[in-house]
Symmetry: C2
Subunit: 357 residues, 2 copies
DNA sequence: CTTACCGTAGTTACCGGTTTCTACATGTGC
DNA sequence: GCACATGTAGAAACCGGTAACTACGGTAAG
């Protein structure tokens, strides 16, 4: 004696089932769903009722297969928990929803190889747009392959979007939504210099090898500001590091241990700044009395730190929203640079003369 | 004279195209891709080469249509920028990747109607699992419709997962991964009571009407702790509010304005606690000297606040990972409750006697 | 020498909506 | 009364990958 499976195995309901119940053809059901073709009121009502009674659910894969758009955008970022990334994600999600799209997320943990793999997966998914969030790798092979993807997606009617990183090249069909990354670093460095700081640690950015575009451009701004002020910067104060809290903490401890002399720290991200702050405090160094501290990103918590963190504001949400909007509406310009600006709080103060940290 | 479109319109490459180039049948190409059927080495090589030369990209929709799993899990949350949600999201993404799945995200902004709509959309997508993150609505119609979805997804071979909220009912086929929400609130309230606090504001939770399960259970814990201590709590100290920083800030200002008497504030979330802290500080009330403050969630920034925030730790990432793992491996138990525990930092201290705030 | 079987590859139908293209009532104009 | 537009509905093919079934050369077993 066999027992019949309790959860009745997939009794998939198709348009044809609905059609049968409503006494019409599958075509008619399809037309009722899309609503783009005249269907008699009485027929429509019957079909709608049949759909309800059968608990019909459309199959997007069937629809996508027969040529329709997938109504999906993909976005690819380092880590969903990165506060600034999260806000870009929010903007993307918001705009995507507004444009009737669903969102896919993929994380790369900063691995360019994984980013490439993910973009390939998104090609398989036939996403309407693939949005790369955050700085990009500077590696040649990587850039070459990404360029290929840009062309391939374009040919397939989709779009590669670079959000928060510079274009791949002049004739690469991408949508680019950047912010003035270098300008923000320039402005903040200038701010510190104008307050009288002369030995400013830049922590978490570097321009050696294949770093990310984000790190490179923040160094450019730092260097350019020094040049504008006619001040030679000390290369040994540019400390490469990751973008996390732990990186800021660790490097600051090391800096203190090696007896480095500086009156200000410009952290490459607010997360790094938080780590710097913790390490400084731990060493009995007060901010801003003994050392000034500046961040980059203006994450929401920057204002709640003690002292309030002076930082560079990036229009994160707008970045995300714009990326989706431009990618989906090709009438608009396909390269936009959004502005950044300094948010002055309490963590920067002119240095005390003859300070030795 | 017509100019040919520059971006050559979709020259989609199919298995049949690859087959033609390799001089084999479409089936063989399919078999090379899946690798589950013996194909002669020489043939495989030829097919692989053809795929590369044609830049072939698989179409997941066609594959999904012919019966295969979509290899996608969906997760639905209030807001990607909520720090604790973000960590659940991270766990989900991590485990999904480990199990060869892609992720879709949808946000609801706390609107139950939107949550229902989103789940319906996920049914259309034929997601392998639909993960609902965060507290659920207590509204009857909502629960009824969600129960229906649970059954429908189950019948379709998918799974509804409740992550961070209690089950819908005994015979509803869902995977539930909760944390001991009530227990955390109980422990923290007990901690405050044992320190001598007697007038503890619970800010951001309530149990009236159709609030969320999260808010309700945090009140339950608060109340039960008072009962355990044989202390009658003051209902007017339970202040309903949202889960954001602004809510904590606003309600605290109001509390101070109305001259409420309390020696501690138990904020329903750390974000609320940050708002409370800001309002308190603004009013010249010191934490923890004048008023103690506790939070819930243990977001990463809780430790970087000044003073460090005493709060309840939720295993957010594990919650997300577990949700995906259980949903995809039905051999495992389908209802798990993870523990919570207090993290003591510096924001709680015994109250000063005769304190009037 | 025939039968059986293995390894490999092809044929064909199917998944579920959509999209022509066709069909057939009515109604309209001459 | 005939030609023709209009409104509505159906039949069949198609999207691209896959599964079930068939086929065929070659070797091993009887």
């Amino acid at each position: 004696m066999t027992i019949t499976g309790e959860s009745g195995d997939d009794e998939r309901v198709t348009v044809r089932d609905v059609a049968a119940r409503a006494g019409v053809s599958a075509t008619t059901v399809s037309r009722v769903i899309k609503g783009d073709y005249p269907v008699a009121q009485a027929t429509r009502t019957r079909v709608l009722r049949a759909m309800r009674e059968l608990d019909y659910v459309l199959n997007v894969h069937a629809r996508a297969l027969s040529g329709a758009s997938t109504k999906m955008v993909a976005f690819v970022l380092d880590d969903v928990t990165g506060p600034s990334f999260a806000y870009v994600a929010k903007g993307v999600e918001q705009q995507a929803t507004a444009e009737g799209r669903l969102c896919m997320v993929c994380t790369t943990h900063g691995d360019p190889a994984r980013e490439l793999a993910v973009v390939e997966a998104m090609r398989e998914q036939r996403a309407d747009a693939v949005i790369l969030v955050g700085g990009g790798s500077l590696d040649d092979t990587y850039r070459e392959r990404m360029t290929h993807f840009a062309h391939a997606l374009d040919k397939a009617g989709s779009r590669l979007v670079l959000c928060g990183r510079p274009p791949l090249g002049d004739n690469v069909p991408t949508t680019v939504v950047e912010y003035d990354n270098e300008g923000g670093a320039y402005a903040m460095t200038s701010h510190l210099l104008s307050q009288g700081h002369r030995r400013i640690v830049l922590l978490g950015a570097d321009w050696q090898g294949d770093t990310s575009t984000t790190k490179r451009d923040r160094v450019y701004g730092y260097v350019r500001a020094h040049e504008s002020f006619g001040i030679t910067y000390a290369p040994d104060l540019i400390i490469p590091a990751g973008f996390g809290r732990a990186d800021g903490y660790e490097q600051t401890r090391r800096l203190i241990a090696r007896g480095a002399v500086f009156t200000a720290v410009f952290a490459a991200t607010d997360m790094v700044a938080i780590g710097v702050l913790a390490a400084l405090r731990e060493a009995g160094i007060r901010v801003p009395e003994d050392v000034s501290l500046a961040g980059y990103d203006d994450i929401p918590f920057a204002a709640d730190l003690e002292p309030g963190l002076t930082t560079v504001r990036i229009p994160t949400e707008e970045l995300g929203r714009t990326a989706v909007r431009l990618a989906l509406n090709r009438g608009e310009p396909q390269h936009v640079v959004l502005g950044t600006h300094i948010v002055v709080r309490d963590s920067v103060r002119p240095p005390i003369r003859n300070q030795v940290s």
